[in-house]
Subunit: 123 residues, 2 copies
């Protein structure tokens, strides 16, 4: 097996064990995608608004979150495609709500972490 250029490994057993225990790549990428959705302040504000407001239309969401209606529409599209929010149409209005409670749990858990420890800059 060849020492490729420099395959430095200290604890080969642990490396093998860890490699075997890593979640499949699909799970990892799905996770990254979900957390990516939560990594934008604009989307976070929309979700926070929906957590509080229950069900809101695009224009109210935009007003409440201080964003343009276009930006909100784009953001909601992303969230919709990833099943984070659901739409209810009534006439020309579109009312959005959160699809499940996972978002609330992730939101609260993250918020706990953030408020508990500023996690700012440090070395």
């Amino acid at each position: 097996m060849s020492t490729s250029s420099h395959a430095r490994v200290v604890d080969a057993d642990r490396v093998s064990a860890v490699m075997a225990s890593l979640p499949p790549e699909t799970a990892i990428e799905g996770l990254a995608q979900v957390f990516g959705l939560l990594s934008d302040p604009g989307r976070l504000r929309l979700m926070a608004a929906l957590l509080e407001g229950g069900e809101m239309c695009v224009c109210d969401l935009a007003a409440a979150c201080g964003q343009s209606e276009s930006a909100v529409s784009h953001a909601l599209r992303l969230l919709r495609l990833n099943r984070v929010v659901k739409v209810r149409r009534s006439g020309r209005m579109a009312y959005y709500r959160l699809a499940d409670s996972h978002v609330r749990m992730l939101f609260d858990l993250g918020l706990t972490h953030v408020t508990h420890d500023e996690a700012g800059s440090h070395d």
Copy 2:
């Protein structure tokens, strides 16, 4: 406060209530930053490895996660600056471990969401 250009609002009361209930901007940005750290497959793999391996050096982490040592070092630096991981130095080795249990909770919660519902593409 006047009607600015086109301040479309359907339910002004709800908008006000939601605006009042939104977390402060600092919390929102902190949240976004934390989730942003979790939104990269490479970092996610590192964290998964540390969840399993407990404490590992950079080169083993790189081998286990299939990334270059440089990339791992950069990633660990980010995680370190955000207090997600801690270092223990021994000679010229650097052993990393997770700083707290929040990561495990977020990881598992997200994983539940992902494996439960593929959250792929849909309209």
